[in-house]
């Protein structure tokens, strides 16, 4: 067991720190709409110009191709600099769609899309969930009927983050008529400007409007936009699971330490009676857990996984810890949490964090995965 950075790594850290210090935007990022798009793209373009875009992307696709050590250093410095959350409108492109195209796309698809993503010139959204296919994703019904050189798409997607400002969508649809469950799906690149697409934004419980329903009415998508084999979309969607441990989610995980430390500072500065109060206890436990989340994050990177599903534990632990931390914040703020103006980022984050245990696999589904795929418990009849 070793945990050492080389001298070259240390100087890499210095240059990352220096660049971030000089370039991190100081204004609060807008939460939604065209302003969110412009802000996220401007920040990504800045990183791209400085050579800091695609730090986990292989060099052949224009990324930095950094070692895990240097990725960690970048994430640590990113957090330290107070840079904006990476969970913005560029997240899907950089961490999901891009890697999928890299892995399964044609040369044309790679040549066209990857440079645009890295340089901050295209926003992607994810079209997986449907009204009838949430936790049970294999229940997808949106269809793509083959007609000549096109797929004619009809149906509906929902909970699509940034659909209103995206250029492209990674769209999972049923292309083999009459197919069931995981079979007969295709992973398709959908241009969001195509005729027949209607986006209806949905306001979330935090009052922000960054997700939407998307309706498809005879939308013609060229068959050349299918990524991977036709009808093999489920496997294509699963390919990027392996990429997950290299995503900017690491930044989010490391950010929790900073959050709980500022909360502890806030609590102690307001004379919180740490010895006897349940808030003091909760903060202490959350602080220890944020430290453990860092250890867990590093271990998923630097230890051979026992199962392919080890990532489920860190994902779920992060989700629930962030909810606990923002829940504590509401308590520390006390009656002042009624004001949406003051300390608004704590309140906003508290409300946004409800999505952590729902989006991308609910906590319940994650626990099923841990129980069945890691512990080997039997699947139940009633899902």
């Amino acid at each position: 067991m070793q945990f050492e950075f080389s001298e070259e790594d240390v100087s890499f850290r210095k240059s990352a720190r220096r660049w971030l210090l000089e370039n991190v935007p100081t204004e609060t990022p807008p939460h939604s709409g065209i302003e969110a798009r412009e802000f996220a793209l401007a920040w990504l373009r800045k990183r791209h110009a400085g050579g800091w875009s695609g730090i986990s992307w292989p060099a052949e696709f224009g990324g930095r191709g950094l070692s895990f050590e240097r990725q960690i250093i970048w994430h640590e410095e990113y957090v330290r600099s107070g840079a904006p959350t990476p969970l913005d409108s560029t997240f899907v492109a950089l961490n999901h769609a891009g890697p999928t195209v890299m892995e399964c796309g044609t040369e044309e698809q790679k040549t066209f899309h990857l440079p645009r993503i890295l340089s901050g010139n295209s926003i992607w959204c994810q079209g997986f969930s449907e009204p009838g296919a949430g936790s049970d994703l294999a229940g997808i019904r949106t269809s793509g009927r083959i007609d000549g050189e096109d797929l004619v798409v009809n149906g509906q997607k929902i909970w699509t983050s940034f659909a209103d400002i995206a250029d492209y969508q990674e769209l999972l649809i049923r292309t083999d008529p009459g197919s069931q469950r995981h079979k007969g799906l295709s992973w398709v690149i959908c241009d969001m400007t195509l005729p027949g697409i209607t986006v209806r934004p949905i306001k979330n419980l935090a009052g922000a409007t960054h997700f939407a329903e998307v309706f498809y009415d005879n939308v013609r998508i060229p068959l050349s936009n299918v990524v991977g084999a036709l009808h093999d979309g489920w496997n294509v969607a699963m390919t990027t699971l392996g990429f997950e441990r290299r995503t900017a989610a690491i930044t989010l995980q490391l950010m929790m330490e900073q959050k709980i430390e500022s909360l502890a500072t806030l609590f102690l500065s307001r004379g919180g009676d740490a010895a006897c109060s349940s808030i003091g206890r909760d903060i202490a436990i959350a602080r220890a857990e944020a430290a453990a989340l860092r250890a867990l994050t590093y271990r998923t990177l630097f230890k051979d996984p026992a199962t392919a599903f080890d990532g489920s534990i860190v994902r779920l632990f992060f989700a629930e810890l962030s909810q606990r931390i923002y829940g504590i914040a509401m308590e520390v703020l006390g009656p002042r949490n009624a004001e949406a103006e003051q300390d608004q980022e704590w309140v906003y984050s508290y409300l946004e964090a409800f999505s952590e245990t729902i989006a991308g696999g609910t906590a319940e589904i994650q626990r099923n995965i841990i129980g069945e795929r890691i512990l080997g418990l039997p699947r139940g009849g009633a899902r």
């Binding site: 067991m1 070793q2 945990f3 050492e4 950075f5 080389s6 895990f68 050590e69 960690i72 430390e261 502890a264 500072t265 102690l268 740490a274 010895a275 003091g280 206890r281 903060i283 202490a284 436990i285 602080r287 220890a288 857990e289 430290a291 453990a292 989340l293 860092r294 250890a295 867990l296 590093y298 271990r299 990177l301 630097f302 230890k303 051979d304 080890d310 534990i313 779920l316 632990f317 319940e364 994650q366 626990r367 099923n368 841990i370 129980g371 069945e372 890691i374 512990l375 080997g376 418990l377 039997p378 699947r379 139940g380 009849g381």
Partner: protein, 338 residues
């Protein structure tokens, strides 16, 4: 270079420790009816288990606290006597305080240490009317030294210089004694900011707790696979499955933090003590949670003394009270410099 896998040597250590413990310290030895006297730790001593991290020149194996942590995780799994903690830490303590003769005596077995817990001064309401510092001693047996753990750190005490009386123990697998130190018996504690022995105590207690945290997870999962009700293994029901998943999360998070804290201590990171305090806090909390869950997953048999689950529960309560209370641990983590 970062690599968090066990090295080949570490894997070999873990494998041989497991074989040794399965042979000489099966958990079955602690079950009602088959329980013998206090654990004899000679097999672990002969294995070199108490001197792994001692320099080779001093008769040790020249390894580090990381290997001690791996060993004590396995000792926890086998609910080995708290004297194993005492014997490992006492050598380190004697070494760092320059008591070379004592180091030699501990190594050749002419002196032996048991573990003691400092209950605070004048704990009259709990332990009678005597004034002074109150101690619990565990599995004294033929030990003539006690390694004392308290909020102020660790200290060594000559057992022959005190009188101790046997009392019934909540953890029925150990022998418990009570002692009161007179005012002439001031203990000289060394605290965790300066003493590596004190930090080691926290790490090794955490390691033993992790071993138990994992053991009850494994027991529960195995039981949930074979116990059937309503015509299905109970592990197919989400209520049980999710309880098991929570146990897996607890154990996994704790093992990651323990690994990190042990490396931090070995390599002398500036925040090593914080990593250790965070680990210790979670170790006590998560292991207790897992023990309680394990009893629930086992249902009726879990409530019986025939099931091992309660052995882990009772030992966890013993370990979580060593050296500090939960409140004290929380204070340390909360107030660590920000």
């Amino acid at each position: 270079m970062i690599d968090l896998n066990n090295s080949v040597e570490q894997t070999q250590i873990v494998d041989s420790v497991r074989a040794m413990l399965a042979e000489s310290y099966p958990v079955a030895r602690l079950r009602e009816g088959s329980r013998s006297a206090v654990d004899n730790l000679d097999v672990i001593a002969q294995f070199g288990g108490f001197t792994m991290s001692l320099p080779e020149d001093d008769g040790g194996a020249g390894l580090s606290v990381v290997e001690d942590v791996l060993l004590h995780t396995e000792l926890g799994r086998h609910i080995v006597s708290p004297s194993a903690l005492a014997r490992t830490i006492a050598v380190r303590f004697a070494g760092e305080t320059g008591q070379t003769e004592l180091v030699a005596a501990l190594l050749d077995g002419t002196r032996k240490a048991c573990l003691a817990n400092h209950l605070g001064e004048s704990a009259q309401s709990q332990t009678g009317s005597a004034n002074g510092e109150h101690l619990h001693l565990y599995d004294v047996g033929d030990a003539d030294l006690a390694l004392v753990l308290g909020p102020r750190g660790v200290a060594l005490l000559d057992v022959s210089s005190i009188t101790h009386t046997h009392v019934a123990s909540t953890d029925r697998t150990i022998s418990l004694s009570r002692a009161v130190l007179g005012t002439d018996h001031a203990l000289e504690f060394r605290d965790a900011t300066t003493s590596s022995a004190a930090r080691m105590a926290r790490l090794l207690i955490s390691a033993q707790l992790l071993g138990m945290c994992e053991a009850v997870r494994d027991m529960s999962v195995e039981y949930a696979k074979v116990r059937t009700q309503f015509g299905q293994p109970i592990g197919s029901f989400q209520a049980v499955k999710h309880r098991c998943a929570n146990m897996a999360i607890n154990a996994d998070v704790l093992s990651a933090q323990l690994l990190f804290a042990a490396i931090a201590e070995r390599d002398g990171w500036p925040d090593a003590l914080f990593q250790i305090e965070a680990c210790w806090l979670l170790a006590c909390r998560y292991t207790l949670e897992n023990c309680r869950s394990s009893i629930q997953v086992h249902g009726g048999i879990g409530f019986s003394a025939e099931c091992d689950a309660h052995l882990y529960l009772l030992r966890t309560h013993l370990l979580e009270n060593l050296g500090a209370t939960n409140t004290q641990r929380q204070q340390a983590v909360l107030r660590w410099p920000i």
